[in-house]
Symmetry: C2
Subunit: 402 residues, 2 copies
């Protein structure tokens, strides 16, 4: 559950800084932060050899990062190597922290994660958000963020950014929820309903789930397709350690890939979409069950207990997933397919038929399928870590704001 | 047919240069080249304002590029602006040139393109390559490259790189043809059969076709899905002006996306793949025709003449394309789908049913479909221009070699 070694990839800002002396310094500050974050504690000399700069250049960068409360000195390294021992540096457990939030169909959650990646405060409220106005949901979310912020501040942290996961399509502006059918939201400027004064990002929960997998999953490669499900089925495509978002921000709509082109009509306008075979409602219907709360838990329980109707329904869902994934794998050639969210809990009954399709439809070795260990925690953790990584990617912005 | 204005995107090397003073200078040399290439002729002052560096910094970069024969001075600009007129700079029509080559199933072609993007020499040989060994094909290709090189050298050019388009899957090493079924090639180290001393890149023809569209197409966006067909059906995915290659280099296999999961068996191991409905062989079969040369020309001619069997076969192919593209568009959210290669010539008879599927299966506005103006010339031009862009992306490598 730790980041892969030498993962000094940056996630956004640092890449687009201008190519001037000042821009170069900002990028190198980011390199130092990422290196210490993934491989620390490290001495100045080790950092220098990791990133290919001189010891003197690194010392100047490190001094600044220590002054900004982003790195801390741990005292002398044990003298196991040649030469005078240097002081080891670690990412600070004080200073800025990222706030992650999740608006689920049946819950709200907020957590604060420090630069070391540790969850330092958390708050959850259960209860349906289906019939509520965006303003009312945002108000309650703000209350939860205040609660978490107060706890974090008591521990010497301050909030550097807020990232919110929503179960719907988000425009590329990172604030407008274009469509969240299970909340009944259309074109909601969620960013405008949230507090000013701290940078806010809104993104699809499948995207944050995939980022959590990338950053926190054990041995997750830089190229994968992350498939998750709650009510609908969503996917997120990660290429070279970056999310593929699509022109409008709508990429990853695996749930509307046609599986059987003459199949049942789908609210999206299509016919025979994956969601008509593997979405929650479709699986419940196939198992002869009524709509209810905690669908996934109940399905897993009954399948475990040997309920034939449920097992058959999940087997059919797995087959449809396998057909849709064959198309996705042919198009994207990912290293791995990762089943996350609700699909992780149901994977024992989905995987056999899914694999039969994927393997049977592929010449040569089929794309491996892994099951996420983060499961339903993924989106919230991904959101909080994205706020943390915004600091690692451009530490100088923190100096401007702290 | 010109590059979009202000397109100073680099295509590879420049992004990964180390972040040191020297690396910064190399990246800024690339910025100057790309700026003059897309918007020139330009004065030093205009270049400076385009890329956000000082006039003095730009002068030093320009002097070097002129010394290396990459830029040329056109003499004083017309005094239409305020201040002392500067000398206008243009990309040189001498110096390095890129060599593009195409190994088709029924032809070989080579061309040389200078830094201005002008084709300066070309050679083509018709004749089937189906039953020939890779070594024999490579020998003939080398003869054609020599012929083109001699012509180019007479005009003051020298060859800075060679890029070869092949009708098959190429490994990410950029030299090994993993699978080219219509040539009968498996795991052929084509790079090893080509001349040493000049950088050689091998890539799939669909990828080079998409790059040609990106670089030379009128108003092509930075995010699109390029679909082309010869014997099989291939696609290339362009995201943010970059090819999405996939983990093994196999991304874009649209031809093997399942359209009807219980359809006819496909040599890939699957059933009901797009190629079983819209590949050349499938269309010929549906039209009741025998295998033959110049399939596309004959199909277009007969459809034009009102042959009902051919029109019906193309209509069915368009429908299958529309179903497969619905899945691809849902996954990738591209700005546009571009039909290139043979599909461009057949588009009048494919598009109606293709659009019915794509529009009917999408809630909201469907992804626009455009037809490439480059058609079958795309892969060869894309290959040559990729060799040219390697120079624009890192001009300093040319200085090391010239």
């Amino acid at each position: 559950m730790t980041a892969p070694p030498h993962d000094t990839r940056t996630t956004g800002n640092a890449r687009t800084l201008p190519d001037t002396q000042q821009g170069m310094r900002r990028r190198n500050l980011a390199r130092v932060m990422h290196t210490v974050s993934s491989d620390g504690p490290l001495s100045r000399a080790s950092i220098a050899s990791h990133i290919g700069l001189t010891r003197a250049a690194v010392s100047s960068l490190v001094d600044e990062l220590v002054r900004w409360d982003l790195l801390e000195e741990l005292g002398p390294e044990r003298p196991s190597r040649v030469g005078r021992p240097g002081s080891a540096l670690a990412v600070s457990g004080r200073g800025p922290a990222g706030l992650g939030a999740e608006i689920g169909v049946d819950h709200l959650a907020v957590c604060a994660v420090d630069l070391q990646g540790v969850v330092r405060a958390q708050a959850v409220r259960r209860g349906s958000n289906r019939a509520r106005s965006p303003r009312s949901v945002a108000r309650e979310l703000i209350r939860l963020t205040r609660e978490v912020t107060v706890t974090a501040e008591k521990e010497g942290l301050w909030i550097s950014g807020l990232a919110v996961a929503v179960p719907g399509l988000v425009a590329r502006d990172g604030r407008t929820v274009v469509r969240a059918p299970n909340l009944g939201w259309h074109d909601v400027d969620l960013g405008g309903l949230l507090p000013e004064g701290v940078p806010v990002t809104v993104d699809n929960e499948a995207n944050f789930g995939a980022l959590a997998e990338l950053w926190l999953g054990a041995g997750t490669p830089g190229d994968f397709l992350h498939v998750s499900a709650e009510i609908g089925i969503g996917a997120a495509i990660v290429v070279n350690g970056q999310l593929l978002r699509g022109t409008r921000g709508f990429a990853g709509e695996l749930g509307h890939v046609p599986v059987r082109p003459d199949g049942p009509a789908c609210p999206c306008g299509g016919r025979g979409c994956l969601e008509q075979y593997a979405g929650e409602e479709a699986v419940l219907r196939a198992a002869g069950m009524e709509p209810r709360e905690d669908v996934v838990g109940v399905l897993a329980e009954r399948a475990e207990a040997g309920d034939e109707a449920v097992r058959e329904a999940l087997d059919q869902a797995g087959q449809a997933l396998g057909i849709a994934l064959t198309g996705a794998v042919n198009l994207l050639d990912p290293d791995t397919v990762v089943l996350g969210g609700a699909l992780a809990a149901l994977s024992p009954w989905l995987l056999p038929s899914l694999q039969v399709e994927l393997r049977g439809r592929t010449a040569g070795p089929a794309c491996p399928v892994a099951v996420s260990e983060l499961g339903p925690q993924g989106p919230l953790l991904g959101a909080a870590h994205s706020a943390v990584r915004a600091v690692l990617d451009d530490p100088a912005t923190v100096a401007e704001r702290s």
